[in-house]
Each structure stands twice: as C-alpha cells, then as structure tokens.
Amino acid sequence: MYISFSNSPAPEAESEVGDPPRRNRGARTVSSTVVTLGIVSLLTDVSSESVAAILPLYITGVLGLSTIAFGFIDGLYQGVSAVVRIVGGYASDRYDMPKWVAFVGYALAAVARVGLLFASGFAAITAVIAVDRIGKGIRTAPRDALITAASEPEILGTSFGVHRTLDNIGAAIGPLIAFFILLAIPDGFHTVFVASLAFALIGVLILGLVVPNVRTRAAHDEAVTDAAAPAASRVRKKFDWAAVTTGPMRRVLAAAGLLGLLTIGDGFVYLVLQSRSDFAAQWFPLLYVGTNLAFLALAIPLGRLSDRVGRARVFVFGHASLLAAYVIAATPIADVASIILCLALLGGFYASTDGVLAALASQLTSPETRGTGIAAAQTVVALTRFLAATGFGVLWYLVGPETSMLIVAGLLAVAIPAVALLLHPYLSVTRPLAVASDSDALPAEVGEP
C-alpha cells in the first residue's frame, strides 16, 4: 500500500531539516522532524516485526521449545513495556531531553538484536525480548513528546497520523521481509536477525544524527519570559505530578481507562471469526496484518479529522468503530466481506485512538509534563486493556464467544456516551489548553458557542 505525503516534503529534499514547522502556501505542513521520527519508527518496526513474525517458528522449530514456553514468552512481550513506559515519560520531562531518552529506548532495541544473534535457549531469548520491550517502553512517550514539540498545535492530530502511518508501514513490511528471507533460505533465521539488526541500527543512526534535540520547554519558557522571567527558570526545576493527575488529564485518564476496560484485544475477535469462517481460518495467522493495513490507511485522515472536530471527539467516537467490529464478529455471517469489514473497523479504531490519544494528552498537558502525561495515558490504556483481555477470557468460557462479545459491545454502547459526557468540555477543543497547576477550573476557551 502506498501512502502519499503530498503535504509533507521528503526529508532529503528539505533544506532546513529539523526546523520548526513552516507554513507552505497557506497550508500547514507536517514538520520534517515528525516525518523523520516516522522513518525512525518505520525502520525500528521493520526490525522488531520481522523478528516477531518468525519468532514462533524459531522458538518451536529451531530451539525446540514447546507450548508453555511459547505462551510465556508471548505474555512477557506484553507486560514489560507498559510498566517501563511511565519511567520513560517521566525521565523525558525531568531532564527535558526527550530525544536522548528516546534514543536510549531505540538503542536498547538494537542491542537486543545483537543479543538475538548469539542467543540460544529459552533464558537467552527471554532476556533479549525483555530488553527489546523495555526499549519500546522507554522510547514511546518521549518520542510522542518530540512529535508534539515539533508540530504546530493546530495540526497535531495530523502529525501523529503521519507518524503512525509510517510506523505501521514498517510493521507491515517487516514480516514480509522476514518471510521472504525464509522463503529464499529455509533455515535463514540468522539472516533475518542480521537484517533486523541492520534496520534497527539505521533507525538509531537517523534519530541520533538527524532529529534535532527539541526541548519541549523551550517554546514555553520563551513565552513566559516576557511576563515572568523568574518563573521560567523555576518551572524548569520543578516537576509536578499533579499536572497529570488533576484537571483535564484526570478526566482523560479516567475516560481512556474506562474505554480500555472494554477493549478486549483483537485476538479474541480473530478467534471468533476463525471459528465461523473458513476464509478467516485460512488466514488466521495474518488477520492482524489486515488490521494493520486499515490502521495505516486511516491514521492520517482520522488524525486530520481530529484536528478539525477535536481530538477527544475522535478518540471517544472511534470506539464506535470497535463496537461495530464486535457486533460483526458476534453476528453469524461468515462471508468474506464481513470479515474484511471487521478488520477495517478494528484498524479504524486504532487509527482514531492510538495517535489521537497522544495528541489529546499533549494538548492537555504543559510542556513540562507532556512526556509524563502521554506516558500516563498510554500506560492506563495498556494496563486496562490487559485487564480487559483477562476478564474477557473468563466471560468467554462462561457464556461462550458470541454472547460475551455482545455483552462487551452492549457495555461499550453505554460507555461511549458516558465518556463523551465526561469529556464534554474538551470534545471540540483543537488547541492546546493553557494548563494551570490548579486547573480544575476550565479554561476560558472551552465551551462551544
């Protein structure tokens, strides 16, 4: 799938790479820094997804490990990054060096690839995967803070859309590269690992060399300088957790958490589809690719929509897409079109929530607390989804796949309006809020005419 970035100049053609965003014939363009970060993510995703795609084959086929071991490694994949994420976000804010915190995260991924070349046996593989996921946890929030700092607030949603699209292109071509290598070289697992290392290194290189170390506070400090110069230097030292646990962020975290509790994991949806449709059964191992393609195709349009109608609105009502996917999965129709529609809806759900949530968290936090704010939102989502998947597993066996899916769909149908009400003050906001530290009071610009 080809995505045209007609509104964003290619980094090579850009003379002032890393400069603050510019305007181009009146149209706001996505910053080249965002595109460069997208390319870094693309390369890193090629690296990690190429390995992830063949890891099951490698673990069971070459290392000769069995079922339980495989499930354990898989679980590890999920748990590690959510916990580390908040640390990455906090460190990014604390030292005001999002680029270098992100760099550590990306570099760890590359180090893990080196480990993979020498790993044999379960313990070694586990350690390597843990390092890789720790890296992912560390880098996500500071990178999203960088995207925010490099973007014009008005097109923040579009910026995240561009980044997530590039990210998912990497996730889509990584497995293709890996399976192509295995097709040419049946026992070429090490060649896949070497290729993965090469892509990870290039990604780290681009990040280190090309991406400017945008300080998230710079713009803010300058803005304050006029009015209250001493305040600026004080702000730099002080870090206030309250900024992410009070005011708008508290509501966003509650909303994200509530909706996260009703996000049961694609795996279950795929399993339901697989049990009903021969088409889905045939393609079961690849259904996630369909979701990824929809995600990358829709990330930019939905990001742009979020800039126009409000990020909170797109985030909340994006869950309607998830709701529709559940309903289709629970409906006894087995034709190919409904399967594809279901995957498209799942992709639409991710496109309207993943980058958009980061944009929302960015606009509701101050530059000093942005990394932590983004990390907090993402951690809440990851943890509540984990709980949702576990809880749904129980429901699944109690009442059966279709019924349990309808139950969650019903709960979601109630939760979406409720969350919309909870986030009502911010639904249509498309500009950053001036966040006061005691900000339970709503900013003046909130409130639609």
């Binding site: 079922t67 994949y77 060649t191 191992p285």
Partner: protein, 340 residues
Amino acid sequence: MNDRVKWLLVAGLSVVALGATAVLGLVAWQQSRLRLEARSAVAITAPTEWASGDRVVFRNTAFGDGYGLVASVPLGDPTGPRAVTEVACDRVDAVDDEFSCLRTERGVVPSYSASLYANDGTVVLTWPLPGIPSRTRISDDGARIATTSFVSGHSYATIGFSTETVIHDDAGDDLGDFEEWTLIVDGTASAPIDRNFWGVTFVDDTTFYATVGMTGSGRTYLVHGDIPTRTLTTVAEGVECPSLSPDRTRIAFKRVTAGSGPTAYWTPAIMDLATGEVRTLTESRSVDDQIEWLDDSTILYGMPREDQSGDTDVWSLRTDGSGVPEVFIEHAWSPSVVRP
C-alpha cells in the same frame, strides 16, 4: 555538520549495513542451496513400494534431495535405504493406506494446514490450522484424525490460549475444539480459563487419551476422552503428551523431571494404566516429542541434533529400564510405526 552531510552519512552507513546484510544473506542462501540441492546425505530409493509391509513412516531430515519429505524404511531394516515420497510434512502419522500430515506452507505469507493423504500422494482431505503444527495422530482404521497446533502468537493476538487440539472424522467434519468439551477434573466438572489441550492418542474411534495443561498453575493431567459424550476426564496428574502402547495397557509420556513451566526438563516415562504405577526411563536428555511405540517393549522419539539445526534423529529406548537410548533412524523425525 549540516543536514545534507548528515543525510549523506546516514545514506552511506545504511548502504554499509544493508550491504553487509545482503552479503551475509547471499552466503547463507548459497550454503542452504548447496545443502538442499546436494545428493541426499543418506541412501534413498524411489517411492514405488514405500507403503508396503511392516514399516516406519517418518519425516526425512537428511539434508539434500528429499529433505522434509515423508519417507519410509522397512521395520526389518531401519538403517537401510529409505523410500522418499513427494509429500512434505512437519509432522506425520500413518496407518496402512493413508497418513495424516501437518505442514507449514512456506510463502511470503506462510500458512499452516493439516491434510489426510492416500498413500499414492493424493489429498483426501485438507483443512487450515491456526498456527505452527505440533502433534498429529490418526486412529487405527483412519476414521479419526487428531491435530494439535500452536495458536499463532502475535502481540495483538495473545492472552490465554496457546494450543488448539481438534479431532476430525474422515468426512472432514471436526468434532469441536476441546475447549468446548466438558472437562472433569478429579471427579468434578471444571473449566479453568487457562486450560490447553495437546497430544491425542487414540484407543479406538470413540475414545482416546490426551493432555490438559493449566498455564497458570503449570499442572498437567492425562485425560480420557469420550467422543460420543464430548467429555474429557482426568486420569492422572503429571502425564504429558501420552502415547498408548500397542497392547493398550500402558501410556508412554514425557515426564517433567526438573524445572517447571517454560524451563521444564522432560524424561520419557511409562505409566501402567491398571495400577497407575509410573517408571521413569533412563534418558539424560530432555525429550520434547510425542512418543511412538515400536513394539510393546520399545519406544521411539525424535531428538534434534545439537550440531545442526533443522536435523534430527529418531532414537529407540527399551521400556523395561534395561539398555540405553540408541539411534534408530538417522536424519528422521515424527516416526510412525505401521504394521498392516
């Protein structure tokens, strides 16, 4: 350093990194091609008479011509030349006139399938598997085919399920995922959400044994399965990947003798079904295979070669505790003893 120089540097180093990868890949490709296109490392014969007489059917893992294909040797001459067919399988289990075959369909988008083949290589039935093949067994008259596969793990598709075990009949209809059957643990109906099933061994067309494992506690049980009532009843604890002896009195299985969960160390063991008595056999290596009975006093199992990934040997071991493991068929995997 201005941006143009930076990007040039990035481009240059990228060419180096990808070029090095390409060179290593070419070397690996060349080596692998030489290995697979070379004459077979073992003596092979044409498959004209491959499915006659008492024989062992297996997956040939000798590098060179015929790698990965179903092959057979006469029971009387297991180390002699092998007859190699055209059918590629990861796991195979045969009866006299047909065999069950689980396969990874290689491709830019790999998929996994189970097929029932007639001995002449024609496909009788085929159906997709949700992930990498693990075990297969076919009942003596070929009317039931059991398959265990991993359910493909991906970061989006996980949580709480890792194997799927299904029995198909010879009309191609499946009898349902075991997770939908009634499970009776120690006399009470039970449905722990983390249960997984694997390793079916048939008694006849209506009953069988298999393993249920609980991911959370790490416990495994031998279950007795009844197809008409769709019921699985636990028989013994700690009995994994069962294989029923030809005289139907004992179960050969892999027993956890060290570690647990992901670090389990398995040793072949024999359980007497009448008394429940278990004897652990003398094997110092960890065995992760569904055991096959050669006769009522000898078992067979596959072991990966330590010095060469992708190659394996089938070993034999006496069940009375005498003797040591011996290589039974070199460069072979997934043995299936057929006595017409």
